[in-house]
Symmetry: C2
C-alpha cells in the first residue's frame, strides 16, 4: 500500500507559493483547482497537522484580535518532497461523470429524460466555461510576471478546451436524440 493520497502534495504545492492558512487553502482549491481537484476541511486540517509533525511545514500563530489564524510555511524538506513528487510519473487521471452513466443506460429511460440531463449538463458546462474564460482573462496580462502564472494559465486553457468539446458534444447529442 504505497502513498496514494495526494492531499499532502496539494498542500505543499499551494504553500510553495507563499505561507497560507488552512481556510485560505480551501478557498484556493475551490476557486482555482476545483476544475480538476477538490478537498474538504476534514482532509485539509488533519493533513496540515501531519505535515507539521513530519517537518514538511511549520506553523505560526497570526491571530488578530481574537480571530484565530494559523499560517503554514513550507520547509526545505517540504519543498524537496514536492519536487520529488513532481518528477514521479503520473499515476492516475480520472474522469467520473454521472451524466455519462445515465446516458449509457439511457435506453431504460424516456428520451425526454435523457434530453433533460444533457441540457442541465450543458448549462452547467457553459457557466463553468464562462468562469474559466474570465480567469483566463485575468491571468493573461500578468502571465510574464510570475512563472507560476504561466502554469496556472495552462490548466485553465485545458479546462477551456475540454469544456468547449463538451458543449460541441451536447449539441450533437441533442440533435441525435431528436433523430
Amino acid at each position: 500500500m504505497a502513498n496514494k493520497r495526494k492531499i499532502d502534495v496539494v498542500l505543499l504545492g499551494i504553500l510553495s507559493h507563499e505561507p497560507t492558512t488552512g481556510y485560505e487553502i480551501k478557498q484556493q482549491i475551490d476557486s482555482k483547482l476545483n476544475y480538476f481537484w477538490g478537498a474538504s476541511y476534514g482532509s485539509i486540517y488533519p493533513a496540515l497537522s501531519q505535515l507539521e509533525r513530519d517537518g514538511l511545514v511549520t506553523k505560526e500563530d497570526i491571530s488578530t484580535n481574537g480571530r484565530e489564524k494559523i499560517a503554514y510555511t513550507i520547509t526545505d524538506a517540504g519543498r524537496r518532497r514536492l519536487h520529488e513528487w513532481l518528477t514521479l510519473p503520473i499515476e492516475k487521471d480520472e474522469l467520473r461523470y454521472e451524466t455519462l452513466l445515465k446516458i449509457y443506460f439511457g435506453a431504460e429511460a424516456e428520451p425526454e429524460e435523457i434530453l433533460r440531463h444533457i441540457e442541465a449538463f450543458e448549462k452547467k458546462v457553459r457557466r463553468d466555461l464562462e468562469n474559466m474564460r474570465q480567469f483566463e482573462a485575468s491571468l493573461e496580462p500578468v502571465r510574464h510576471m510570475e512563472k507560476a502564472h504561466e502554469y496556472y494559465l495552462m490548466t485553465v486553457r485545458f479546462g477551456i478546451y475540454t469544456y468547449e468539446a463538451h458543449i460541441k458534444w451536447c449539441e450533437e447529442a441533442k440533435r441525435r436524440l431528436c433523430h
Copy 2:
C-alpha cells in the same frame, strides 16, 4: 448521509440489458465504461449480494462442469429502482487529473519535467482515442439494431470529442513550454 454510492445502479444498469455474472460485469465496466466509470471485484460482488437480499436482482447457479458461475437477473423492483434513479438530477460530474495538478505546480519543477508529463499524457490519450474510434466503428453499423447501442455510441462520441480536445491542448502546451 443519503445514498451516494453508485455501484448499485451501475450493476442494475448492466443487468437491465441481460443476465450477467459478476465476472462479466467487471469485464464490461473495464472495457466499455472505463472512460467514465470504474469498479473492482471488491465492490461488485458484495453489492450483487446486497441487491439480491433487497430483491432487486435474483441469482441463478449456471456452473458448468466444476466451473462456478452465477448469473444475476434484474427483477421488476430492480428495474423500477433503476428508472427512478435515471430520472433523478445528476449529483456529480468529476474530473480529477493528476497531470493537471503537476502542471499547476509546474513552476516548482524544471520545464523539461513538465514537458515529459505532457508527452506521456498525450501518448496515453492518443492510445485511448484510437481504442474509442475502433469502438465507435464497431457500434456505428449496429446502432439502429438496439436502442441501447445509440446510447453507448453517445458516450463514445463524448470520449472522442474530449480526447481530441486534450490532444489539441497538448500541442498548445508544448508550444508554450518551448516559448
